[in-house]
């Protein structure tokens, strides 16, 4: 239970640290008169997020290159780095609504992703513990499998999360595309 709380705390801290790092970087860029760097971090961050979706393509079988596990790690790393870059690009400026909705949606998507990471790790941990308990109680392999199947509540939690995470990501994608489109049209 303690390890679950610790893991949740660490992921929450990671999410918050992305915001803190973005505010700090933005302040540094303003101080150094390098606002233009923040501007270009938008396209760069977007590109990183787009590349991170290689994992989604692999998971759905649209492509067959790379190991899903490694691509998941890549997805997490690129999405987090891209989110940081996009946050710096947005800066602490409250102007047009659309880009801010996009930033807000992005941070929800990042939080959702971290929640997925938490659920996945917790499910693995719980199933491993349960399997050890059942083995120690003397149950044979067949009965252990039956019991584990019945106890796989957290795995089902992951299934529910997958259903939610994608629309959240789609919401961010739609807002980002609209922001980019309007920025290009009204350059």
């Amino acid at each position: 239970m303690r390890s679950v709380a610790l893991r949740a705390g660490a992921l929450l801290a990671l999410w918050a640290s992305v915001i803190v790092a973005a505010v700090t970087l933005d302040a540094v860029l303003h101080t150094l008169g390098l606002i233009w760097v923040g501007f270009w971090l938008g396209p760069i961050g977007t590109a990183l997020v787009v590349v991170s979706f290689v994992y989604s393509l692999r998971k759905r079988g649209w492509i067959e290159i790379g190991s899903p596990h490694r691509l998941l790690r890549l997805h997490e790393a690129l999405a987090l780095t891209g989110a940081l870059a996009i946050l710096v690009h947005g800066g602490v400026h409250f102007h047009a609504l659309l880009p801010w909705l996009a930033v807000f949606a992005m941070m929800i998507a990042v939080a959702s992703g971290l929640m997925g990471e938490f659920l996945l790790a917790s499910a693995r941990s719980r199933l491993t513990d349960r399997e050890r308990e059942l083995r120690e109680s003397g149950l044979d392999a067949t009965n252990i499998e039956k019991k584990l199947e019945a106890d796989a509540l957290m795995v089902r939690g992951m299934e529910i999360w997958r259903v939610v995470h994608l629309p959240i990501a789609v919401n961010f994608a739609v807002l980002a595309v609209l922001h980019i489109a309007t920025a290009v049209v009204f350059w």
């Binding site: 606002i35 923040g38 102007h95 047009a96 909705l101 919401n171 609209l178 309007t182 009204f186 350059w187």
Partner: protein, 291 residues
């Protein structure tokens, strides 16, 4: 399939908001004062996919009148140090300096004038824009209109004045330009106007005055007590300012040694070292004898 519907729905919903209230969803801030009437008509200034062409600005702001009169034709007084210059620009590129929406921080759009935008023929005539603010002191009056020979475009200082460009007689007349800043201490007051005998054109320090060429300081003859040896002017000295050296005593000591010419002490006494003085005296006497 469900996610595709979600995407289409969101795209339609957000798209409708963008079209319905662009000033809230897309505009990066309020337009500047005077542009309120066109605040909600993006295409008044923006050409889709082509940015904000200068032609759209010039349609209202006639280039010839910028800085001289408002769009309504009312004359405007040029602010001090900010003369009208838009007419001298290489090309009208308004958004390189101006950003209409407050808060929009586009790279290169921060109202920062740069001389790179000005035509070459105007660049060489600084006074045509800065005439009222050019300094009127003696040095600058003589420099004429060629400000660029010393000053850069970025800032008035630092300037890179080359003394060698002055006529020879002006090069020697340091105080005519630096009069106010010349040091007033005893040493410099007595040095007179010939600053160049110790100081160079590049910098005030290091200076090249070598007292040791005439007399080496030591603990009995410290550098800090100029007045002991130079009671009146620095180009004259006396050794009799010290109680140990009296005219009578010195005359007696030198005559005992057969030395009759001892008025210019430092000719032999380059320091407080007696032996050195003896060596120098013998050297002088030998040279005189050979002649």
């Amino acid at each position: 399939m469900r996610n595709l519907f979600v995407m289409i729905f969101l795209l339609a919903a957000y798209g409708a908001l963008v079209v319905w209230i662009p000033e809230v969803t897309v505009s990066p801030g309020d337009v500047i004062e005077g542009h309120e009437k066109i605040a909600n008509d993006c295409t008044e200034c923006h050409s889709p996919f082509r940015g904000t062409p200068a032609a759209k600005c010039i349609a209202c702001h006639e280039l010839e009148a910028i800085g001289l009169a408002t769009t309504a034709g009312v004359p405007v007084a040029a602010a001090e140090g900010e003369p009208p210059f838009h007419q001298a620009l290489i090309e009208p590129a308004c958004v390189r300096c101006h950003s209409d929406h407050r808060g929009a921080e586009r790279p290169g759009a921060s109202i920062s004038f740069t001389h790179e935008l000005v035509r070459n023929d105007v660049l060489s005539t600084c006074a045509s824009c800065h005439g009222a603010s050019t300094p009127k002191d003696d040095l600058h009056r003589q420099a004429g209109d060629d400000c660029g020979s010393c000053h850069g475009f970025e800032a008035w200082i630092p300037a890179t004045f080359e003394h060698e460009t002055l006529p020879a007689e002006r090069q020697k007349a340091c105080v005519s330009c630096h009069g106010a800043s010349t040091p007033k201490d005893d040493l410099h007051r007595q040095a007179g106007d010939d600053c160049g005998s110790c100081h160079g054109f590049e910098a005030w320090t290091p200076a090249t005055f070598e007292h040791e060429r005439h007399f080496r300081f030591d603990r009995h003859h410290p550098a800090s007590k100029c007045q002991s040896c130079h009671p009146s002017t620095l180009d004259q000295y006396t050794c009799y300012g010290c109680h140990e050296h009296s005219a009578r005593g010195i005359a007696r000591e030198h005559r005992e040694e057969g030395i009759t010419e001892f008025e210019d002490c430092v000719e032999c006494h380059r320091s407080g070292d007696e032996h050195e003085a003896e060596r120098l005296f013998r050297k002088r006497r030998g040279k005189t004898a050979r002649q």
